[in-house]
Symmetry: D4
């Protein structure tokens, strides 16, 4: 059963998503990846969020990046947003993702930074998984090299 | 029955919405105004869009202004988006609204420009309403004064 | 007789225009495309707008993208503006097109997004054409794939 | 007969225009000031430009500041544009005015800087008016105090 | 013992911090709030992070908002960053917080949005606290009113 | 004797300068082009401005584009500034050139738009040269093709 | 004899300059403050720079903030630039000051941050003044309170 | 013993650092270059700053460029920051570096401008080294060629 659900708004975000997948695999965390656009197929997004057993959701999107917010509107699990540079150096997606109204947060990471979305997911999951916390401590130590 | 449905993401957008309402009243166009946040109450937004008989929808939102795009995702009627300046001079809302992905357009007007949203709605409705077209021509003529 | 008139400010916008043309052809909508710069040949722009029988006008322009506004100044038909990225990632054209003064709206779509301009035009025309509305519903359904 | 024609897009630009008028009066240069919006009353703009005997035209506008470019499209006299801060700190108007396409220049001065528009006009007129050049040299010297 | 540690870079951030405190109190979550600047007192920041038993850290900062990243450098717990508008509408702080390098994420929320930082912290803590999850579901439901 | 003096801040601006030179040659206007940096060789800039008989000065610069303003500080002839895109899409140079303080104007044209600088210079010179005015009218007419 | 020369482009920068003066007084460093605009009175700027015995120069300016660069062009002493928010939140002055061409550096500090300019000057002077270094260490320690 | 310590946040900044190294070598100034990330290895940064005998520190970083500020927090020697364009044209790093809070300055130079960081370091060091001052005067003179 997936611990993390990754949704990207477009197939063209695959490269960014892969950076997240690599981290999750490295930490041995089950995940599921689906492409579902908040604008082209909102029902699929809604269904994915309703049915998932994942504890953390990563949403990856460019342009008018509504996806992370739309996911956050339908869950009270933590939602991590990754802005993709599809135009304007990704500034449009960054602002669309981070500037959420009060009470409906999205945890925004850097532009195109799929890796950080996954590391953040691991940090969250490690709060209740001692083994994962141990791996994370080693990972953190390894960054110094 | 309403010809235009206005949705704003927050009660605090009322002043911008009023500018649109005034135009619609001036042109004698039936409308309905509802507050419904894409992030706090997506079901209400979905229900409003599904049940409306309006031919044009005006969506008003600030910050991560997902509302116009979320509405556009659920209708093939024209959706007009009004970015509200709630932060960053409204640049966040402007980019969130205008930078829609291919195939799901939102017709974006200027920041805080509720008036233009309504005039655009009238222009669209006038295409099949000769009396309205006549009024619009007079309105256009009146702008010269 | 054309239902949609497309004007671009420069021959170099042809690629963006083509994205619009492809959509209009797909929906079987008659259109006419002309290159006419608001700055180099304002009389041609004025003449095109005055003589057209089109119900919707799409104006495509980069830099100081005055064309959509200049067209909107001379018609009360809906005008759709497409900002082209010719400099500054297209931010100059976006702001020039979207920030129209009260009472003279332009329906702005995303940067380089000729496709959305055409889909929006189809949405507007479909309000009085049931067959077109049917095609649009199918198109919308097809986006989910 | 006016040497300088000042056009502003809106009555609300009067304060900026006054800064220009004060300079022109100080230098004893005849001018005429008209309010004419490129978007609400393009015929008036066109008529003003066609009929003026002014050697320099100053155009003042905010938002989608098309006015200076529209004037430049209809004259080969020098056109000076003044961007007004009506939104976005005036960045929208600045880009709309300065980013003209090749062959149709507008001489853009700083945001809200009506004074500089007038001083530039004086500098241009002084090229063929020795008395004015003398006054300008004195003015320039006076800036040092 | 605190579940959440809030650090702000300056006493002047107190109003933003209060929005977070109110949420945490509402959910009955123990927290500790300290003022500690990453630039004026890095040892205090380091000590706070080393000694805390908190599971989530909220870091609030304006300008060159290094604090969230500096905290993230010293913990593998989730760090939530709140950009404060102290200049440039908060864009400087937003970019400083969100654009972290790979492997060291900060979960950035909106400008001045202390409330969302706290809601996100609650969402994270609720993953291992069923009672809190229940409260969060009620809170989420309450947003619809 | 030159009518126009062109100064660029760096040899690397030659391509932008060439666009201006081509226009001046086409109109048969005598000009002189010098490379002189306001930052590396201010004495040369000062000497060029003091000694020139040119009636209009075009200054081309990127980054902290002080050159046009520095020239304007030393002459009361019209100074035209051309911002060069050497970083930040040329936004740094644009703002450096256009945002002059009151009383010391620079006539700013678009980013990299050496052509418009020259056309503007021609427009200015044509005010006292009927033959040039005639050529300019033809040139303007030719833009319509 | 002054150790630090402060020049501001306008009398209106006095408040920003005062923040610098207060620091210099606190550290007992002799300084001289002059208002001299690079655009209105370049000769005065040049004279001030040539005649000063100061080891560090602080230049404060807004808009097209050429002053720091113009000073740097005429000295090989360290020049510290302070961008003033006179428009566009100070972004114009910031970019004008910081984006100097290779070989002619200006040490730019934050927008309106006269205090940091002075502290930086003290840090530089302390490299050859042990007593000053001692005071600086105490000052630094005091920041922790 | 090094006079200048250069720290860059990432190995990928080597090209920018090299521009600084070349200048320091040309002036015969001893330096040491270390890669140490403020986010991945803050202890190394702290140790480098504590142990160095350098009089000036150059810190080079992109994205959330915390490094210069983190260094400045731990020393009262002058710290020069070089923003690297790793995203958003380097605007994120520029703002992160320059917008330091009062009392903890960083001397920011232009984006990617490693050369200016080194020249500034030389200018600072030359204040107490007459031979270096002589070389600097020659260097300055040489810029005019």
């Amino acid at each position: 059963m997936e611990k993390v659900l990754i949704i990207s708004g477009s197939r063209s975000d695959a490269e960014i998503v892969k950076k997240a997948e690599d981290v999750l695999k490295e930490f041995g965390i089950g995940y599921k990846y689906e492409v579902a656009s908040a604008h082209r197929n909102p029902d699929k997004v809604e269904k994915l969020v309703k049915e998932t057993t994942a504890e953390v959701i990563i949403a990856v999107a460019g342009l008018s990046a509504a996806l992370p917010g739309v996911v956050a509107a339908r869950t009270f699990r933590p939602v991590i947003g990754v802005p993709v540079d599809a135009a304007l150096d990704g500034l449009d997606a960054l602002l669309s993702i981070v500037q959420m109204p009060p009470n409906v947060p999205v945890a925004c990471v850097g532009i195109n930074n799929g890796k950080n979305a996954a590391v953040l997911a691991v940090q969250i999951l490690a709060l209740k998984d001692k083994e994962l916390a141990k791996k994370l401590a080693d990972f953190k130590e390894g960054l110094k090299q």
